[in-house]
Subunit: 674 residues, 2 copies
């Protein structure tokens, strides 16, 4: 094709695929990467079609490791595994089930492969041996101990891709030469990474599901009174007259003066975000418009829209624009667009459902998250207003979407692993903080969420913030005893986010311009170091930093430091890399490391970001000699940067600490002072 | 069709289905049931075909409950659920995954439905609402509490059956009028239930995986020295030269004098059972014969036979006959014929595999257990020698097969639930006892396994029996300290099995003659009592008894007693039914209840059964008036009963205890004395 992306067509591909429905954003920009040969040609892929669907065998070399398949909460490295990409909101096991499966994988050999299908496709990564192959083990085990020991010796023939129903498929191969290059090409092919509004990178707070307008007013004030940073205030299901299924209409009993409340919140610097899902109640004002485009099954009595139909997408978009966004709403939390049918109490539409576009339920489950994101995009472009949202499902080609995945699951180690894996497939993931058993749990979770794509505290289960009361019953009674002083220990954690906000904003701008995810596995940066391939509890933050989260109950942990020197971000202490080290970390301590030779710009924390915010910056040196870094400067909330109204600031720090600054670009404001 | 079984054909059914491959045993015998109308005609079923496969909507009425789908370890009642029948050796969640999924369900409305497919079919039991339906809830929830509360109000339109790949399907509907009748018809249609050899109903003991012939000799002697009942002695993988994959050839280093050892064991009254799986190592003597019929993927370096090909089945059967069965082996434990690919470390063949018969891997996974059982049957018929075996996968039409399912899983409550659910689909299930943390755990597990289809103690992990030492490390060192006297508390539990052996043998003969499973849910006997529908921790044992297992750590439990009077089997204490009652039970106590009006024959326990064994019987009365029961009398191990060499003994006990006996049949021996 172009940009060292190779398209191979096998048989007759299906009509409804990720590329055809949501993937046509390619603009010829390869993020500045040089051309590269394909790792293999179409002839190296074995293709067959039978009653079950389409099967591909794609080359795989011994020792090659594989990553990707979208958000995978249970494992990072995929070699030897079999994964079925079922859309599932509760992926309890390491079987491929995911809120956001993506039929895309990366290889340490320096390429990526996208199977353009919306089917629940099986991937087997060198997990099996063909009968004719000579690669079988020489000896067989005669007992289970030997057997288990031998499991590591899995076959190495190929990646088997088993696509139900399809009679053919398009395969997109993204060349390297490095794995990072292949990932960048994939993200640029998707349209480049998203640049969120600056406020989206601030702190998010979601309020109790039973809140009324007075409770909302009180909490918004209390956050400001506590001098806690917060940019986004979110309302949960109760804001509507109908929620399961949705009406998208304000509940005037709970929110009689919502217009005024919105004004008050915005005056305090909050952006408002509303919970919703796609299932529309008969009371929903666009129910009649959507009915001709609905699927043949109901969910919670509501219709299931087919947002692949332009008329349905337009109706959905226009309603949101006029009824909500133009009235002061900045974004949404799009719940339940995945599939909760694999958890024992199914509520979603069957895979056998039929939709007016000709899609079936299986395809719709795979595509619904991306279709709903895509449906909304024109609103924000029309209003020249960037947005940042939460969503519970996504898919292929998601990089440019201002949507961050979240989950009702809550294992912190799984949530951390989610940050590691999401970055392999153009996804963003939020390890949100909800209930906490104690202060340590709260602090540890907050430390991770402020070093993630979206810093959300989701307080939907209780009326008062967790730092006022951990105990759910006491919280509901307004009894804050036993939690004295917690807010003062929470504040510095939230302020870390605000300190790093300019750094993170710049990292997202790199994502936009060259496709490098702001949060990613160490394996992307250190592909040649096999030690990094299986690390599921550390990740890169921007270009220069690496984070090793602490779990509650631990006072120390092992951290793998790749080759080179590393510095503790807080203390400046220096360590030699290419080794594992054990670090002590008290509850307040965060294991954030800086690559040697980095210049890190930090801001004096603000509570929230406006277009007028000027960040008071400090620049910290990690290593000797001349050090440089960049910052991205624009209005932080419109799309004017697309017209050149954005500056790239290059900071240079000499060995003696002398700082120089160059600005390039067409933005005429000043966001940073040094 | 016949016998009130109705066959509806939709579209073009597939070539490889359970009925076509393993289901053609129907002989016109409906077990004496009267004719009955179909619950619905073909026209009541909606049928459609598209790229994904075949979809059926089958009627379901409000309030109707559904059971079945084969061995389901996680749930009994299926209404409101979505189940995908994937063959999976580790069904961690309640999603339909099973060692032995069966596309058959029973309804409390008094009928059964078999979808004749070997595909991983989805069943949704009234779990969803069609868009056009008026049955949606009147109100929607506006918060999650209401939502969760409303989940019980699932839609009631139909059973959705979603069959991948198929362009049509045969549906068999088994009429009632009662659910028990429908179940009987299904089992009789399968060929009637199995009558195992009497020795198969004794105690089974499997020895350490690393055993040598001397260790085997020592353990066999020690069991007899401890005066413990044991009929079957099983060897685990180590008996072969190659196990993963298999050679089926004795390892002469470990077993140099195996012929003599077999003779010694048989002289002590043991039957020998050998572990194996179907994956054949190149050293396997029939490897060359099987190669033309093998699938295109290897498993553990071994070939995967296609036992649907008559030549392959014959080669497999003939080798087992001459090399093993004729040398004194009584049966096998057929491991890993299911699919362990959904547990994170796949080893099995892909669903996309191809087999010479034209079957693919998905179909083969569904059929492999039944195909391998079927392949072996002629050997035993030729030798006029009944058998009883263990198997890790089974399927539709399994009732006549002398195979009992088992698992590497080990939750006792799941194992108990397995006994409840297996009986809905013509399956037998063994809640085997392996390791135990302490004496209580061992005793509680033994209590359940002796009241199950196969009383197996699977000691494969340690060199000495669990009653000699629970602690694995100590066991391996031969240190028996801390376990003094355990054997004397284990003995009465095992002896209960031997006391009930004639009763159980008779219950199996009913299974053979009328299709009523010997172990089954209370819902089969008390379908009209909705309280029984969800009971997953009690089950019927034969015609007259009901067992309520105790879990370790509990000193009492609630038991539901259906309407009528019930008696404690051990104490004779009487309780009024139609209610839940709490019963205390010390570790040695077993909550085994007898239906009022029952006469229970018990035997003086023997350690093992031979054709010459004469059981010294006692008859116990539970209730007043004239009571009767039957016993089945034959040689207990040949197929001569099929030629009429079997007696049915009817025992009548008058109120005053006077016992009379009638014998009908052509067997001329005497097995029971009173």
């Amino acid at each position: 094709m172009m940009n060292s992306i190779y398209k191979y067509t096998f048989g007759t591909p299906e009509e409804h695929t990720p590329f055809k429905l949501t993937g046509q954003r390619i603009d010829g920009d390869a993020g500045g990467l040089p051309a590269c040969e394909a790792p293999f040609g179409a002839e190296a892929i074995t293709f067959s079609v039978n009653a079950r669907g389409t099967t591909l065998n794609i080359p795989a070399a011994p020792g090659e490791q594989f990553f990707g398949l979208g958000l995978q909460l249970k494992s990072v490295a995929q070699r030897g595994k079999k994964k079925v990409l079922r859309v599932n909101s509760d992926p309890t096991l390491d079987l491929g089930d995911s809120h956001a499966p993506v039929p895309f994988y990366l290889s340490t050999a320096g390429y990526g492969v996208l199977i353009d299908t919306a089917r629940y496709t099986t991937f087997q990564f060198a997990s099996h041996v063909k009968q004719a192959s000579a690669e079988q083990r020489k000896e067989s085990a005669d007992n289970t101990d030997d057997l288990y020991a031998a499991r590591a010796l899995s076959g190495t023939t190929h990646v088997l891709v088993d696509i139900p129903a399809a009679k053919g498929v398009d395969v997109y191969v993204f060349a390297g030469p490095t794995m990072a290059d292949a990932l960048k090409r994939y993200n640029m092919f998707s349209g480049g990474g998203v640049l969120p509004p600056m406020w989206g990178l601030g702190i998010w707070y979601r309020t109790w599901v039973y809140s009324t307008q007075d409770a909302v007013r009180e909490q918004a004030k209390s956050i400001r009174a506590d001098r806690l940073p917060c940019d986004v205030f979110g309302l949960e299901p109760g804001w509507q007259t109908r929620a399961y299924s949705c009406s998208y209409v304000w509940n005037r009993e709970k929110y009689p003066d919502i217009e005024q409340v919105i004004e008050e919140l915005r005056a305090q610097g909050y952006h408002l975000n509303l919970w919703e899902h796609l299932y529309m109640h008969p009371e929903c004002p666009i129910y009649g418009e959507q009915e001709p485009y609905a699927g043949d099954y109901k969910v919670w009595g509501g219709l299931v829209p087919d947002l692949s139909v332009p008329e349905a997408a337009k109706s959905f978009r226009d309603y949101h624009k006029t009824a909500l966004i133009e009235k002061g709403i900045s974004g949404f939390k799009l719940d339940e667009c995945d599939n909760s049918d694999f958890i024992g109490h199914p509520w979603s539409y069957p895979e056998a459902s039929q939709f007016p576009s000709g899609m079936d339920g299986e395809q719709m489950h795979s595509m619904m998250g991306m279709l709903s994101q895509q449906a909304m995009m024109p609103v924000y472009e029309e209003l020249n207003q960037r947005t940042y949202n939460c969503v519970r499902s996504s898919g292929a080609y998601a990089a440019p979407m201002p949507y961050v995945l979240y989950s009702d699951l809550y294992s912190l180690s799984d949530f951390i692993r989610g940050v590691v894996t999401a970055g392999f497939s153009g996804l963003l993931w939020c390890p949100e903080v909800r209930q906490s058993g104690d202060e340590e749990d709260l602090i540890r979770r907050l430390q991770t969420v402020v070093l993630s794509p979206l810093a959300m505290i989701n307080n939907w289960m209780v009326p008062h913030p967790a730092w006022k009361q951990f105990d759910t019953e006491k919280n509901k009674e307004g009894d804050f005893s036993g939690c004295e002083g917690v807010v003062d220990r929470v504040r510095p954690v939230l302020e870390l986010r605000m300190k790093l906000l300019p750094y993170l904003y710049n990292a997202f701008n790199s994502y936009r311009k060259c496709g490098l995810p702001p949060f990613r596995s160490l394996a992307v940066d250190y592909t040649g170091d096999a030690n990094t391939h299986t690390i599921d509890d550390q990740y890169m933050v921007g270009d220069a930093m690496m984070y090793a989260p602490m779990l509650p109950g631990k006072t120390s942990r092992e951290v793998y430091l790749p080759a080179g020197k590393w510095h503790n971000f807080f203390t400046g202490e220096t360590y030699e890399g290419a080794t594992k080290r054990t670090f002590e970390a008290a509850v307040a301590d965060i294991l954030l490391f800086v690559r040697d030779g980095s210049l890190i710009p930090t801001a004096k924390p603000v509570t929230h970001v406006t277009p007028d915010t000027v960040f008071e910056m400090e620049v910290r040196r990690f290593g000797g000699g001349r050090l440089t870094c960049t910052l991205t400067e624009d209005d932080g909330e419109s799309f004017d940067f697309l017209k050149g109204e954005q500056n790239i600031i290059t900071l240079t720090s000499e060995e003696d600490g002398r700082l120089t600054l160059t600005r390039e670009g067409g933005y005429d404001g000043v966001r940073y002072v040094f």
